[in-house]
């Protein structure tokens, strides 16, 4: 879920945040002053008063005794004093000079240091391919995980970092979001769709040397379900899991569940070492082609190739560093100066200048849906005419164009990479007259305009809010934009459902279930959609599942349960040396083993 993480790397201080920081800051300085101030002022360090003054001037007299001798013999003595003063000045001047030289020298050394570094860069001018051990790459990303506990902590950036790299799932997925063999080389599904038998590859080992066998798989899944870890509900209708023999696992459901295999490509399918004990928040031990060396939240993660990797997805680059940037300028400067070799996750308009500087800039397909959520359960958006009016009033193409034109129109809750996709972009075309008509039917007009508030997290750009404000104003809707901190959003909007409109990039794949859950923050409750969705999940026929999902999605869109502004496509930038960088869905799944470095 990208939204979880965006908060983590949020760079923009919200008003709430900064005011707290500030207030405690001023509080502390106030105390500091108070401490000084509680003592009643008696003597000030201003010179001139009483005995203090006397003691010091006495000292001055002592050091320059001859001066007191009167004007007669003063000329000679004052000459020597002047001489000593100028000498001292000279010393001061010399010291100052040394300091200045030292400062300059430090800068020069620093500069040289960096030059030397770039000069000795092994990639600079060697030929042929880089041996795995020498190959190094730094990958720029936006969202950082906060910790490594993939069983508890939400956030797609954690999936991005660990799944397929450090931890491996039972089955994996390809760049088109289709299920592929993973730890399991094959699987059988019983005719009634309730028993899944997975056949594991042989010779799988964890990076600590332990063997990965069916026991570990069964243990991982039963732990997930018993402790209700993150995504435990991705194995719906779970009944039991058992290791039949050392390389066969049997997963039994109480009823068929059509999404199971895809769900096992994610967190629900990850296999952990039941014999290893480590702090899952700060360490990660898995069976993948990479080892996690070091992780600093909101800064960087360093991975090294697992030399004893069991499978075919061997690492081609010895050391991979993922560096997280919250600021686009910092990231763009870093790729320009060669500090990083790839960069993903910033808006196209921000990175498009790099296209003319010899970098590859490409947008990948993704499952991110920029959802303008409506509070379907609360007035005034519980009125379908109001919701429809808003959908007619919004010009999605205009918003997409303003973002550089790489995103695609969506029109409904299911993106093209997910099952049940259907192009619904034309369901509510941009039609201001129709919007006004619907609004007047609903009882709003020029003298009684519809006034609503858009509450969204400050991790998203304010431009979208501005664009929506002006578009809705054309239809006579007064929109107030309220950008808040993500944690505030989680509390007010997500948990307490206290909002009219909101804006979230829902980036999970296969997440249509949101629309079948009336308790979700959309407050959307349609029995037909819920029934279709339940049927789609229970079906053992893939095409039937797809058509049921498509039908439900169309219903959701027709009900104007939300407006889908666009299907966000993640833009990646990489330098010419980088080969095989995954472009599609790389915010949630980034198989590092596919990347290699060319020379020259």
């Amino acid at each position: 879920m990208s939204t979880d993480n965006k908060s983590e790397s949020s760079a923009t201080p919200s008003t709430a945040e900064s005011s707290t920081a500030e207030s405690s800051d001023t509080a502390s300085s106030a105390t500091a002053q108070k401490q000084g101030g509680t003592q009643t002022p008696a003597a000030s360090s201003k010179p001139a008063t009483g005995s203090l003054d006397a003691s010091l001037s006495a000292k001055a007299k002592k050091t320059k005794k001859p001066a007191g001798a009167g004007t007669a013999g003063a000329s000679a003595t004052s000459a020597t004093t002047t001489a000593s003063v100028t000498r001292r000045n000279r010393i001061i001047a010399i010291v100052a000079l040394v300091v200045v030289i030292a400062v300059v020298a430090v800068f020069l050394i620093a500069r040289r240091g960096t030059n030397v570094n770039s000069g000795t860069n092994p990639n600079a001018n060697a030929a042929a391919t880089v041996p795995v051990d020498d190959a190094e790459i730094t990958i720029g990303m936006v969202l950082s995980p906060t910790n490594l506990d993939i069983r508890t902590q939400s956030g797609s950036s954690l999936d991005q970092l660990l799944i397929g790299n450090v931890y491996e799932p039972l089955v994996s997925r390809d760049e088109n979001n289709a299920v592929q063999p993973g730890l399991a080389s094959s699987w059988d599904v019983s005719d009634d769709g309730t028993v899944y038998t997975f056949h594991l590859n042989s010779g799988i080992t964890f990076s600590n040397g332990d063997a990965l066998d069916a026991d570990d798989v069964a243990w991982s899944i039963s732990e997930l379900e018993n402790n209700q870890y993150k995504d435990y509900d991705a194995i719906a209708n779970y009944e039991s899991v058992e290791a039949v023999d050392s390389d066969t696992v049997r997963l039994t459901l109480s009823a068929p569940y059509s999404q199971l295999l895809w769900n096992l490509t994610g967190r629900a399918g990850l296999v952990f070492d039941q014999d290893a004990s480590y702090d899952a928040k700060t360490q990660a031990i898995g069976s993948g082609p990479y080892l996690l060396e070091k992780f600093t939240a909101n800064d960087s993660a360093q991975l090294t190739a697992n030399k004893d990797y069991w499978g075919a997805n061997k690492a081609q680059i010895g050391t991979v560093t993922i560096k997280y940037y919250s600021d686009a300028n910092a990231a763009i400067n870093a790729i320009r100066s060669g500090d990083i070799q790839t960069l993903s996750g910033f808006d196209y308009t921000q990175v498009s200048p790099l296209k003319d500087e010899g970098f590859n800039v490409e947008a990948g397909d993704d499952t991110d849906k920029m959802v303008l959520a409506f509070n379907n359960a609360r007035s005034p958006l519980n009125d379908i005419r109001v919701r429809q009016a808003i959908r007619y009033a919004i010009d999605e193409d205009d918003i997409i164009a303003a973002r550089g034109g790489v995103d695609t129109a969506l029109g409904g809750p299911i993106p093209s990479l997910d099952p049940g996709y259907e192009d619904l972009a034309d369901l509510y075309p941009h039609d201001v007259d129709k919007a006004k008509e619907l609004l007047s039917e609903a009882g709003y007009g020029a003298d009684n305009p519809l006034k609503i508030t858009l509450t969204y997290a400050n991790i998203y750009s304010s431009e979208i809010g501005d664009a929506l404000t002006s578009q809705l104003a054309d239809a006579g809707i007064e929109l107030t934009v309220n950008q808040v901190e993500f944690s505030t959003w989680l509390s007010d909007v997500y948990t307490n459902h206290d909002y009219d409109l909101s804006l979230v990039d829902h980036n999970e794949s296969h997440d249509f279930g949101q629309w079948a859950n009336p308790d979700y923050y959309y407050g959307y409750d349609n029995a037909q959609v819920q029934e279709d969705y339940t049927k789609a999940l229970a079906s053992t026929d893939e095409s039937e599942t797809d058509s049921l999902l498509a039908q439900a999605a169309r219903q959701v869109s027709e009900d104007a349960a939300a407006d889908w502004l666009f299907n966000f496509r993640v833009v990646s930038v990489w330098s010419g040396k980088v080969q095989g960088f995954p472009v599609n869905m790389n915010q949630a799944y980034l198989p590092l083993w596919q990347i290699s470095l060319l020379q020259g």
Binding site: D4, P13, T488
Partner: protein, 341 residues
């Protein structure tokens, strides 16, 4: 000696009061860590479960006491989100923030002291006026804007003279010493120049105060020029005030580099604080804030003690029964007033 003890006792009391204030203020924020961990696909039951696991469902007095008793045992606690020890995280981040503040202070002193002296001693009225205007202008630059200007001027890849890394900090930290040092150069300049301008004004006003005093008259009577007298005797007289300002500037830099660290994408203390606050890892935030507060108070303490060492008059006053810190506090205030006038 009693002064030192009194001062230390006040330090402890202030710290405990601060801890309560920090704890209460943070609890006013909407949202909590459990929601952040749960994200946008968790059910209320899952969030409640996480909240219970994190101990966030305990009553506030219990939470406060648990935290405070940990602190009293010298344990800053464990960040609930990252699972790392708060003390370790702070130490990690200080590796960036402390050198940054020190370098910033060095820049500030290097600019502020000589120019401050010059703005008093220069014979040319134009130079004096020019320096004064420069101090006011430079001192009122917002750090964000000043930093951006510096990047555009000196930043590699974007600047006119692309000589210094514009943003970020090497992943290998101080193991890449040259790079680490150079990546702190621009941030240190942007805090240093602004602080240096203020510093210059403090120096100037402190020197102006003593310029017409008898000490300088005395020194001049011994044959020094006014400039020499200001530099040798005047600076020494103004030293306590300058030390106060330097100490507080340094403390202010450690606590106030949020904008600069964000702008230059440095993994420092301020960014840690902002991230933890955004994630509502309040246990970590309150420990971090307390450490910063303690540091700020500690700098105040150090400044006071240094005054005693620097200004023999205070010792005399203290032994004479008067409380020595009074003069210090008053002197600092005086300098501040002068500076802001």
């Amino acid at each position: 000696m009693t002064f030192v003890l009194k001062r230390c006792a006040a330090f402890v009391v202030a710290l405990i009061v601060q801890s309560a204030a920090i704890f209460v203020c943070l609890r006013i924020l909407p949202g909590d860590l459990a929601m952040v961990v749960g994200g946008t696909s968790s059910t209320p039951e899952q969030v409640a479960r996480i909240r219970q696991q994190l101990g966030l469902d305990q009553p506030y007095p219990v939470q406060y006491w648990n935290w405070l008793s940990g602190i009293l045992h010298g344990d800053l606690g464990t960040a609930q989100l990252s699972g790392a020890s708060v003390a370790g995280e702070i130490a990690d981040r200080l590796q960036v923030t402390l050198p940054l503040a020190l370098m910033g202070l060095a820049v500030a002193l290097a600019i502020g002291l000589p120019l401050g002296v010059l703005s008093v001693t220069s014979r040319s009225a134009r130079v004096r006026r020019g320096l004064q205007i420069a101090a006011i202008v430079a001192g009122s630059i917002p750090a964000l804007w000043g930093g951006l200007l510096l990047i555009m001027l000196l930043g590699r890849g974007v600047g006119l003279l692309g000589v210094l890394p514009s943003q970020g900090f090497p992943v290998r930290g101080w193991h890449a010493f040259g790079r680490a040092l150079s990546s702190l150069a621009l941030p240190a300049l942007s805090v240093g120049i602004i602080a240096g301008a203020e510093f210059m004004r403090y120096t100037r006003s402190a020197l102006l105060e003593v310029r017409d005093s008898d000490y300088l008259a005395q020194a001049m009577a011994c044959g020094m020029t006014r400039a020499q007298a200001v530099r040798t005797v005047g600076l020494r007289l103004a030293a306590p005030q300058i030390v106060s300002v330097a100490g507080l500037t340094f403390a202010g830099m450690l606590t106030g580099v949020i904008v600069v660290e964000n702008l230059f994408a440095l993994p420092g203390l301020a960014t840690l604080l902002m991230d933890d606050l955004g994630n509502r890892d309040l246990l970590a935030v309150q420990s971090e804030l307390l450490v910063l507060t303690a540091f700020f108070l500690f700098m105040g303490l150090v400044v006071d003690l240094v005054h005693h060492a620097l200004d023999p008059r205070l010792k005399a006053a203290a032994s004479g029964g008067a409380d020595g810190a009074d003069g210090v506090a008053d002197g600092t205030d005086g300098a501040r007033k002068e500076g802001t006038r």
